[in-house]
Amino acid sequence: MLMIRRDLVDAMVGHARRDHPDEACGVVAGPVGSDRPERLIEMANAERSPTFYRFDATEQLRVWRAMDAADEEPAVIYHSHTATEAYPSRTDISYASQPDAHYVLVSTRDPDSHELRSYRIIDGEVTEEPVEVVESYMFSHNGADDVPDAP
């Protein structure tokens, strides 16, 4: 399951809408091992295309180094589909290389409502997972350090 804060969902959808009809892409970093997306980084789509995206390689190096320095990892890798459903394409699957990341797809093909879905993609196998949108991680039972043990 992907548990994610509402403001991060709004930011991903806003980015996808803003770049429509080109595909938008980005990453949400979280502390290593936490599975908790916290810091959203909009990435440039080096392809500027309605059918393809690629992180700009130089920007990716900078962002990955910053994550490394902050003990973060990519918790979410997101991109938009602007004319098709929010389901990973064969291209998405062949490039997916982060077994620990949630691959989030936002479809903006409907101008009035978006579709946001999340997947694990491991060794070419796609598994959809539920998305729980929360206001804050503070009160969600998601991780040992979030909720104190009962006395």
Partner: protein, 101 residues
């Protein structure tokens, strides 16, 4: 030329879990050859048909080697070679996309 190579998570199965390994060579190709002698199989993950795999980005220090000669890009003593998986995808290849519509 002795260099340090930063290895991404997906390739650490070849390096016994090590995030950073030493290698030598005067070009990226030579560094990869050298890595493969100690970390068997890593070359096959990086190189396809004599050029860098499209799924992989390689940097010498801060420079993407695609703009510096690819596998023939020069490396110097003390350089850092970083390997990162490219992050890419998209709704479909253009031809397929037209048939979807």
């Amino acid at each position: 030329m002795a260099v340090t190579v930063s290895v991404p998570t997906i390739l650490r199965t070849h390096t016994g879990g090590e995030k950073s390994v030493d290698a030598s060579g005067s070009t990226v190709a030579e560094v990869i050859e050298d890595l493969d002698t100690r970390h068997s199989g890593i070359k096959g993950r990086l190189v396809k048909d004599g050029s860098l795999h499209r799924f992989i980005n390689v940097y010498v220090n801060d420079e993407d080697v695609r703009f510096a000669g690819g596998l023939e890009a020069a490396v110097h003593d003390g350089d850092n070679v970083t390997i990162l998986p490219a992050v890419a995808g998209g709704c479909a290849p253009a031809r397929e996309w037209e048939t979807v519509l």
